[in-house]
Symmetry: C2
Subunit: 207 residues, 2 copies
């Protein structure tokens, strides 16, 4: 399976690299980072660039699409080069997926109309403008469209995807290879469990 | 706080980008990727390059060091440019940390003698050759030296570090910002829970 991960300025690095690491370790899977033009693309912190090795035109029909999110999503919601690539790729892909605000790009490309979908908690409500039903779930599978919640949820999404597309044993082998036995030191990763007032502090960090 | 993350060929991308994303979102923290020379450095899959924006000489005394692992670790266990940088940085740093086989580099630099430490399950036993006591824990804090288990454990490590260095509220705000409420679809991320025989399959993926 060939995975394409589109990069655009001010994406969130973990949105892309979480699923990438899961899928690129899977037996028989490869991944390519694509962008409007090949070359380094800077993330939302401005301190990391990932290198896209292909343009959208170079890889029009991957098997799997993983669209990351980040504050830069809002600059490309009407970028036809990206949205047109997503739309065309989706016609041929086995799986079209997103992490975090990346689901807004699937929506803007017209892929979520009438579907349940998730996103980062701060922007999930915006999915409605694309005809989607936002749901408070970490990973949402709707046919061959899979959306994940914020940032770190891309790791869970990629393991779920790999289990469906490559078999549970392959997914479990990758999980053990990356020692994904999460033990967060705090229980603050969801609005359901975070202390009161934390959402404002968190929003301030990402906007 | 200024975090330096050294890159060397065939590092594992998530080892670096997990902690990076946690720490670079923290209020008042910045991160710089360093390498022998500035420029793109290819990961262990050969399909992703992260750009180092500084050389070791450019950033000799960061506040925090995060050393990632990966199969490439074994090519740099005697690389004095890297080990000397780690050793000097550690003299001045508030925190010196590692993810996955990165702890072997802390060991090779002479930083783990007599300390408890962790690493990826596949290589943790090698810590003994550096005088460290390998322990089966996800994050091990020994004074200002912090080691993490394999790959994904860097996220937990960075949150633990941030809680200690920047306060629990800052760490919890980042946790919510990156929606780190992990829900792996399988329980195979540790040798304690993985199905029998999975270790061999996992090892085959990473070596």
């Amino acid at each position: 399976m060939h995975v394409a991960i589109p990069l655009y300025p001010r994406f969130t690095a973990l949105d892309a690299v979480g699923p990438y690491t899961v899928l690129a370790f899977a037996p028989g899977w490869t991944a390519t980072f694509v962008a409007a033009e090949p070359g380094p693309v800077a993330d939302d912190r401005g301190s990391l660039a990932l290198t896209a090795t292909a343009s959208y035109a170079d890889l029009p029909e991957p098997d799997v699409v993983v669209v990351p999110g980040g504050i830069g999503t809002f600059d490309v919601l009407a970028d036809e080069a990206l949205l047109g690539w997503i739309r065309h790729a989706h016609e041929h892909a086995s799986w079209t997926t997103s992490v975090c605000s990346g689901s807004l790009l699937l929506g803007a490309a017209g892929l979520l109309d009438g579907l349940r979908a998730t996103s980062h908690w701060a922007v999930a409500g915006m999915l409605r403008q694309y005809g989607a039903e936002p749901v408070d779930e970490r990973v949402v599978v709707q046919g061959r469209v899979v959306t994940a919640a914020g940032v770190s949820a891309g790791i869970d999404m990629a393991l779920e995807l790999l289990g469906r597309a490559g078999g549970e044993e392959a997914a479990q082998a990758v999980q053990l290879a990356i020692e994904y036995d999460p033990q967060p030191p705090f229980d603050a990763g969801s609005l359901r469990t975070a202390p009161a007032g934390l959402a404002d502090r968190a929003l301030h960090l990402i906007t």
